[in-house]
């Protein structure tokens, strides 16, 4: 009797051991990054992701766009079954465009332990909330790129192209047709100040002499004096670097001051020129995407976005939202897990391989290779519509 029991025990133990080893082996192989299997391996069926956006308040334009882009991307991820049977469950939080609110929201979001956090568009909100995400070791993908953000740590990623890095492409495009220009820029916004500094180097290098560099407060409303000053120097082109209402007001003031030549600017012109009407026709600026950008992904995006959000035109914050969700989904798929460290290394691998965004093949640069650099599409505004310029 003793012997039989022992034998049975040994047999069952061996079976169990074999089964266990077999299971473990299967588990490892399917979570080892097999992208072809399509089942995502160790991913849970519901992946919690939180979006912290500036949905209300003065910067609501960015938050609304960002959320729209994110939602469209989520639907695309679903329909393409990028994550197999797993689904991203999105929670959206509002910062009301206030730093203190963003900080409060962030500490609550951290407690819910999402797999990743998609961050807001305001630089002071990003800077204040990044340390929290870093210490919680949760990947934090932001829609703004202020200096010092990426130094917070390797879990912090900036998923929007810095305006300053787009200046060389803009300069190159203009050098084909103009020899000199005047730039008007908003001198109290750090992103624009950086962009302006980059322009003052890039333009002369491309062969476009800068006759004048005029600073003006972002919140100014009457630009007649600035426009007169710029137009009186008779440049071959005038640039407007800024964001918000000034992007429409300055072109209008320039036309009223008698300037009839070409206009150019930074990505802040995306979505802000419509008010200027005919005054802004022909305005060119570097963008992350514009209707007419070649590529199947680009055309699909235009169609899907129009279907999901009728009446809303996608501008760069929406493009950022779409791109970052695609990037996250790809990384989740190759990580096969929502574990912070695993997801992070998958993100780093995806970034190193080169990642296709709506604008084309993007790279990552900057501190730790976590700053997205989109290929610069040159966009042009004409009669209420923005289209990509064929180079």
């Amino acid at each position: 009797m003793h012997g039989t029991r022992t034998r049975r025990a040994v047999v069952s133990a061996s079976c169990a051991a074999v089964a266990f080893i077999a299971l473990a082996a299967c588990g490892t192989s399917s979570s080892g990054g097999s992208t072809a299997s399509g089942s995502g391996g160790g991913l849970p069926s519901s992946i919690p992701v939180t979006l912290i956006a500036d949905k209300t308040g003065p910067q609501a334009f960015y938050g609304t766009q960002l959320e729209a882009g994110v939602q469209t991307a989520l639907k695309a991820v679903q329909s393409q079954k990028l994550l197999g049977s797993s689904k991203i469950a999105l929670t959206v939080q509002d910062t009301t465009s206030q730093q203190s609110q963003a900080i409060t929201v962030m500490s609550q979001v951290i407690q819910t332990r999402p797999a990743a956090i998609l961050g807001p568009s305001l630089s002071n909100e990003a800077l204040a909330t990044a340390p929290t995400a870093q210490s919680a070791k949760i990947p934090y993908l932001l829609d703004t790129s202020p200096q010092g953000l990426l130094d917070t740590g390797d879990y912090i990623w900036s998923m929007t192209t810095q305006h300053a890095s787009q200046m060389p492409a803009l300069a190159k495009h203009l050098a084909g047709s103009v020899k000199n220009a005047v730039i008007i820029y908003s001198n109290d916004n750090p992103t624009i100040v950086d962009a302006n500094k980059a322009a003052t180097t890039a333009f002369p290098q491309a062969g476009v002499q800068l006759l004048d560099d005029i600073g003006t407060p972002l919140q100014s409303t009457d630009f007649s004096a600035v426009a007169t000053k710029a137009a009186s120097q008779h440049p071959q082109a005038i640039g407007v670097l800024g964001g918000g209402p000034m992007m429409s007001s300055v072109p209008k003031a320039l036309r009223a001051a008698g300037y009839t030549g070409p206009l150019f600017g930074n990505m802040g012109a995306d979505g802000t020129l419509t008010s200027a009407g005919a005054a802004a026709n022909g305005f060119v600026y570097p963008a992350e995407w514009a209707p007419g950008t070649p590529g199947a992904m680009s055309q699909d995006f235009a169609k899907e976005f129009a279907a999901d959000h009728p009446g809303l035109t996608p501008y760069y914050p929406a493009v950022d939202g779409y791109n970052e969700v695609m990037f996250l989904a790809q990384s989740l798929k190759s990580a096969g897990s929502t574990n912070g460290a695993a997801l992070l290394s998958a993100m780093q691998a995806t970034a190193k391989k080169g990642f296709t965004t709506l604008g084309g093949k993007s790279t990552f640069s900057g501190s730790g290779g976590r700053q997205l650099v989109d290929p610069s599409i040159i966009a042009q505004y004409q009669d209420g519509k923005v289209t990509a310029v064929k180079e």
């Binding site: 949905k55 209300t56 939080q93 509002d94 009301t96 206030q98 730093q99 203190s100 609110q101 900080i103 409060t104 929201v105 962030m106 500490s107 609550q108 407690q111 630089s123 002071n124 800077l127 204040a128 340390p131 929290t132 202020p146 200096q147 010092g148 953000l149 130094d151 917070t152 001198n187 109290d188 916004n189 750090p190 100040v193």
Partner: protein, 311 residues
Amino acid sequence: MSLSTWWLTNQSLIEVVIIYALVAFSVQVSLRAGTFSLASLGFYAVGSYTAANLVKHGQPAVLAIAAGVVLSAAVGWLLALLLVRLRDLYLGMATIAFDLMVGVVALNWVAVTGGPAGMYGIPIEMTAGGMLVILLVVVVLLGLLQRGTIGRTLEVTREDEQLARTAGINTRRYRRFAFVLSAMLGALAGGMHALAFSVISPGDAGFSFVILALAMVIIGGFGSWVGALIGAVVLAYLPQRLTGLGDAWPIIYGSVLILVATFLPGGFYALMRRGVVRARRSLRRPRHPEGSQPPGNDVATAAPNAKAAAL
């Protein structure tokens, strides 16, 4: 939810409330003394940039914040001397102009303030626990001040300056004291902001924060530091709860301001006190038949509370 989870989740909210509370105290102290000074927000900027710079150069947190507070006290004293002749709305305007000018300096003095980009990566030296301790100390001091001779003198100065002067009170010195105290509280709040949130920018103490500070004190009630605290909690906590309402939230907030200013000039604090008075009164005299309460007694019990609650 266990206490430790609640603490972790709401830590940042508590930190924000404490900073708001200190700012509200700074405005309340000056309003209660009859000086309509909103300059404490300019000193908030002074305090935060001073603390940030010192900590970045390796100085300990306590010294950094203290330096900001002392500097603001000195500048505040000078400012009070300058503005001594101004009253009411004129003083309010001058102090708002001061705040905006500080903002312009913060924007342009790139070497010290980092210019438009502000300062980031400030070492985090403040914890929510530390901030709570500071808040308690401040509250105790303000409470003592309110009840003590200085507090009562300030109230008389506010109510009727001529009478106060006749009684031999050097009203100018008391007003200056309130001004300086307000500046110090603002600087303390700013220093804590820099060391708790690691990033400051020129817009932090801008026009909208000035407005918010005023709103906190009015809604909460400027009769006492309790009112200021109520206002701070309401305005730091409510936006959070109401974001579900999305776009309608500021409309509610604005309407509350209008209603409180029109119908409840003492703020929620006054409402609370009236409730306490009524409760006390009904407990003390449970059996007086209707209409036979001697009016004299009513005035005697009601007057001190009304006076404190009204303005």
